[in-house]
């Protein structure tokens, strides 16, 4: 079974090729699109069973497909590397991916570009699998850029409107900034360690580099740049909210469950390197808490259902970065997994709401949908509970682990913990605000769930189960990561506060958005409230800042030099020569007096020169 590993990315890739090259009829396109990922998921299941059946110490499998490129002392192979970490990612990608593909058959039913959509989705799954299975950093980079490309293609899927195109390009370019930093990191690693094979590299880094020295710090910081871009963390987070322009299933698959977690995966994959750079790891933790807090506040005031979820994704990714930063590696991956369950659920449920509302996304135009859209409602409630991390849901287990590890972290663990708990409180508020506004209150519409079929409901139900009980899954990562020195165990007040935070959040939201809505209006009406709301709504002004600081100067420079200033130098030469030409042709007057005068003058000058030089010489 393990030898079939290469087939796992190959099937979705073949699906992409079929869909892209042969204009398949719609039903067949659906079978190919969903089927290829379904087979990949089944293969993954088989591989997982066999792999986990092996003794824990032997749980590594490498499959070399072919030599990709070799130049001088540099070699990169097309080789897959399977270990428990890659396996967990693979299960998430194919499993959740399959559910979302199934859902998309219903969601994209009326779209004329049905098979183009599935082509892109299949390509994405293939690229994402290469990303997590890549044996060396160049192959990982191939998957990394590949998922970025698919993200671009799918955000701009409805290409008629220029805004979608803009959002798509923004996503690609902003993440490319991070990718470039990562590429430079690769160059640096190769220059000093002579390989880009991940396992060798980690080994060699540990052997050659002292903890905290300059080179590992630099290399880790450069890789971190890539992770920040992909995972939408400060300061490269601005692309994610706009990425919601794409169809909702891709928001679930790419911008919640899989691609945006690639940054977390990268850091976990290269954790040996990051552990040699404790300063960078601390920065990871700080960026994590800042992002989770800032995006939490932003989510509080959004009105678009998908944007709320987008900011909440950023915020949850912040928790994962925090976990990485404090060395709670397994907890980060655990949260990655549970987040994939409940955030995919929430996005898919919001997609169902959006369909039933005929593509309305403003939550304040919804209301009272509890009875009208029962499946969506219960999906939202379950997903929301897990997102807010109420006890016994999947989100609770993973987030609790992270908060526990943060609390015992040696370096300002208390502060980081406190901010993260505040974040948990805010998560409670914005999640229940969303649910109260959309599903409770006055009935504003006539929506119903008649337009969504089983292929939409079934994935929702499965994801509901996973969101509730997924926390009981034991992630088999004990041998991948170093054991934690201090067992994270929250006790006493800290424990109580950690558990209580989301409840308090829900209570506040209940007061403001259900119990006494006039309260929230009052807050929104006073000037400080207005200002804060505007500031938070804009995502803390980052877009504005980047526009002024980067985009406008660049655009000015580019426009100013449209005609290529270098060319004017050659124009100047041409102009000078024409000038000379004109001057000389002016002397051709045809009048004998002028010519005679010219000759006389010439004679005088030449004789004069001769005399002068003679005078000088002798």
């Amino acid at each position: 079974m393990l030898n079939l590993l290469w087939l796992v990315p190959t099937f979705p890739l073949a699906g992409f090729l079929l869909l892209a090259l042969c204009g398949l009829p719609k039903r067949l396109a659906a079978w190919v699109g969903v089927g290829s990922v379904g087979i990949a998921a089944l293969l993954t299941l088989g591989i997982a069973v066999e792999f986990l059946g092996m003794p824990a110490s032997e749980q590594v499998f490498r499959q070399t497909l072919w030599q990709w490129m070799s130049s001088g002392d540099f070699t990169a192979t097309f080789a897959l590397y399977l270990d428990p970490l890659a396996l967990v990612m693979m299960c998430i990608i194919t499993g959740i991916g399959f559910l979302i593909h199934l859902y998309s058959v219903g969601y994209m039913d009326e779209d004329p570009a049905f098979s183009r959509f599935f082509a892109y989705m299949n390509l994405f799954v293939a690229a994402m699998l290469v990303l997590v299975l890549g044996d060396n950093l160049v192959l990982l980079y191939l998957g990394w850029e590949g998922v970025g490309l698919c993200s671009y293609l799918l955000i701009g899927f409805w290409y008629d409107s220029p805004e979608n195109g803009y959002a798509a390009r923004k996503a690609f370019i902003v993440t490319r900034i991070g990718d470039t930093s990562m590429a430079i990191g690769l160059f640096l690693l190769f220059m000093h360690l002579g390989t880009l094979d991940i396992q060798q590299l980690m080994q060699s880094a540990g052997d050659n580099w002292a903890q905290g020295s300059l080179l590992p710090t630099l290399a880790a910081a450069l890789l971190l740049g890539g992770a920040l871009g992909k995972s939408a963390q400060l300061p490269l987070q601005t692309w994610l909210p706009d990425a919601m322009a794409g169809p909702t299933p891709i928001s679930a698959l790419i911008h919640a469950a899989t691609m945006v977690t690639a940054g977390v995966y990268l850091i976990a994959r290269t954790h040996e390197l990051f552990m040699l750079a404790p300063e960078v790891l601390f920065v990871v933790a700080v960026i994590g808490v800042l992002t989770l807090l800032i995006s939490g506040f932003t989510a509080l005031v959004q009105t678009d259902i998908k944007r709320i979820l987008a900011f909440s994704t950023m915020s949850q990714l912040g928790y994962m970065f925090l976990a990485l930063g404090v060395g709670a590696w397994s907890a980060a991956i655990f949260h990655l997994m549970t987040h994939a369950f409940f955030k995919a659920l929430l996005f898919l449920a919001s997609g169902a709401v959006i369909i039933c509302m005929h593509h309305e996304q403003d939550i304040f135009k919804m209301g009272g949908l509890r009875k009208r859209l029962p499946v969506s409602f219960w999906s939202f409630v379950i997903g929301g509970l897990a997102l807010a991390a109420l006890p016994l849901t999947s989100g609770y287990y993973s987030k609790h682990e992270i908060l526990g590890a943060t609390h015992v972290f040696a370096r300002s663990g208390d502060t980081l913990w406190a901010v993260a708990v505040l974040g948990a409180l805010i998560t409670g508020i914005y999640t229940s605000r969303l649910i109260f506004v959309v599903f409770f209150g006055a009935d504003k519409t006539h929506a119903d769930e008649s337009s969504i079929g089983l292929n939409i409901k079934l994935p929702l139900i499965i994801l509901c189960v996973l969101s509730l009980f997924g926390g009981l899954i034991h992630v088999p990562l004990d041998r991948v990561f170093p054991l934690q020195q201090v067992l994270p165990h929250l006790a006493g007040t800290a424990n109580a506060l950690t558990i209580a935070a989301p409840f308090v959040g829900i209570l506040i939201a209940y007061l403001f958005f259900y119990g006494k809505p006039e309260l929230s209006e009052k807050v929104a009406a006073n000037s400080l409230g207005k200002m804060l709301q505007r500031f938070w709504f804009s995502g803390w002004g980052f877009d504005w800042l980047y526009q002024k600081l980067l985009v406008n100067p660049l655009m000015w420079l580019v426009r100013a030099n449209k005609k290529d200033v270098v060319d004017s130098f050659y124009h100047l030469i041409a102009w000078l020569i024409r000038l000379l030409h004109r001057l000389l042709s002016m002397s051709q007057t045809g009048r004998v007096q002028w010519y005679a005068a010219g000759i006389a003058l010439g004679v005088v000058v030449i004789v004069g020169l001769g005399v002068w030089r003679q005078h000088l010489w002798f």
């Binding site: 540099f74 980079y141 590949g146 160059f187």
Partner: protein
């Protein structure tokens, strides 16, 4: 003799195409296709059967050395190694693409057009195989003049200006190269008493006391004009924009490569020590080209002009890689040459077909083409993505290896060069946006690619993917950096 035939077939085919048109006996387009196919066949069958010989520490697949003007030590030397073979293969393949891309575009004097096209190819084939400096210069001029006619006669609205600009830039730099050549031969004669233009004689020349650095600079400038590198690039946007489609395809795909080839074959091996000293400057010029080309490209509204500037940006990577003096840089540079050959040829062919359909190159008048021409959209999307360096496609291999090698040689310059990776999607994706996405200002339907165009693009796509996923055979053909004579 095969080497002579490789060039001769193209010359003869050109004359035949002209005659065929004058006598109305055959379609010159088919004669051009047949000529190139025969030449390709000769080249490939030769490469399969060749055995290598070693001259001056280098492996050559074939050499030919005949006396030409013995009085001045000028020989008729042709030789081929892996690099030359790849360049010839690229030349002939893109020659085919060029004929196909102008299939329906050329209305007047089709015979003379294909004569010029084949003669340009012949000149280029000569440039890639000549190893006598004088012979090299001869072919360097041969490829220029028919190209001048292609632009001046079949070009677009501003063709005379563009053709003359192209001619002056190339002539002036060619003159510089000729002076440097003669001076090099003269100084070598002074030192060794042997008058020879032969590459092999000059390779090991000991030129103590001569102004060698300036000679190197003469070669360098001539080749960088062709490459082109900023600030010697301004002939290129005009020439590309005004040339007919086949002309742009040959210019971007092949002629620019002669500049890079010249650097690799002549400039560096003839002056290894000076090149090492000069490397930081050359690399800096490469980086300036990368960044400057990308920025100016982004500003353009004329699609051919935009692609022309992206060529400058991409060829900057070649300059950077060549002067890194390690295997990654060198092989990356050659890969970039091949990859850029494919993508730029494909994009120019696309631009030509759009201009033929809607009679404008202004992207402001385009938009929303995806709806009516999805095949065209997908294909152009493919090449734009290849051009921005997507892993798995050829350009990535080239750029990645160049940067990897250059980083070892000069980290800070390379960090700046890497910024080009951010600029590439900015200009590439905006092309897609302006032409295929959004809604058109003037609502119009555009007919999709014909099967001829799909075939042509399909071939280039397959090569781009092949080179991107399995570049190893090519890299082995290119050989190691040792061939440049710098360690």
């Amino acid at each position: 003799m095969v080497l002579v035939w490789l060039i001769l077939i193209l010359f003869l085919g050109g004359i035949l195409a002209w005659l065929a048109d004058r006598t109305r006996l055959a379609d010159p387009r088919w004669i051009a296709i047949a000529t190139i196919l025969i030449d390709l066949l000769v080249l490939i069958s030769f490469s399969l059967s060749s055995s290598s010989v070693t001259i001056a520490g280098q492996e050559w697949w074939a050499t030919l050395d005949l006396p030409w003007i013995p009085r001045f030590g000028i020989h008729f030397i042709l030789a081929m190694d892996g690099l030359a073979f790849l360049m010839l293969l690229l030349t002939l393949f893109l020659g085919l693409i060029a004929v196909l891309s102008s299939w329906t575009e050329i209305k007047k004097s089709s015979g003379f057009f294909h004569f010029n096209l084949l003669w340009t190819l012949a000149g280029v084939a000569g440039v890639f195989t000549a190893l006598d400096l004088f012979l090299f210069f001869f072919f360097w001029e041969v490829m220029l003049i028919p190209m001048y006619f292609i632009i001046a006669v079949w070009g677009h609205e501003n063709r005379t200006y563009a053709a003359i600009k192209f001619f002056i830039f190339t002539q002036a730099s060619g003159l510089l190269m000729l002076l440097a050549m003669v001076a090099l031969v003269y100084f070598n004669y002074q030192q060794s008493g042997q008058l020879s233009f032969s590459y092999f004689d000059l390779l090991g020349a000991n030129l103590s006391g001569a102004p060698v650095f300036w000679l190197m600079l003469g070669f360098f400038i001539a080749f960088v004009v062709k490459l082109p590198g900023v600030p010697l690039h301004t002939w290129l946007p005009d020439a590309h924009t005004q040339a007919p489609t086949a002309g742009s395809v040959i210019l971007a795909g092949i002629l620019l490569k002669t500049g890079a080839y010249g650097l690799i074959r002549f400039c560096v091996p003839l002056f290894p020590e000076e090149s090492v000293i000069f490397a930081p400057t050359a690399m800096t010029l490469g980086v300036i080209s990368i960044i400057y080309g990308a920025l100016v490209a982004f500003a353009q509204t004329d699609i051919k002009r935009l692609i022309a500037y992206t060529s400058i940006s991409h060829m900057g990577f070649v300059l950077l890689g060549v002067y890194a003096f390690n295997s990654q840089g060198y092989q990356g540079a050659v890969m970039t040459m091949l990859a850029h050959g494919m993508t730029s040829a494909a994009l120019f062919a696309f631009a030509g077909s759009v201009q033929q359909r809607i009679h404008t190159r202004d992207m402001r008048e385009m938009g929303g083409f995806w709806g009516s021409a999805p095949k065209m959209g997908a294909i152009v999307m493919f090449f734009s993505i290849a051009a921005l360096g997507m892993p798995g496609l050829a350009n990535f291999i080239g750029e990645f290896l160049v940067l990897l090698g250059a980083f070892k040689a000069n980290s800070w310059i390379t960090v700046v060069a890497a910024l080009g990776l951010i600029l590439a999607p900015i200009y590439s994706l905006v092309v897609i946006q302006r032409i295929f996405h959004g809604k058109p200002l003037v609502p119009r339907d555009i007919s999709d690619f014909s099967s001829r165009e799909v075939l042509m693009m399909g071939m280039m796509m397959l090569i781009t993917i092949g080179l991107g996923l399995y570049p190893q055979p090519v890299m082995e053909t290119v050989g190691l950096v040792l061939q440049m004579g710098v360690s």
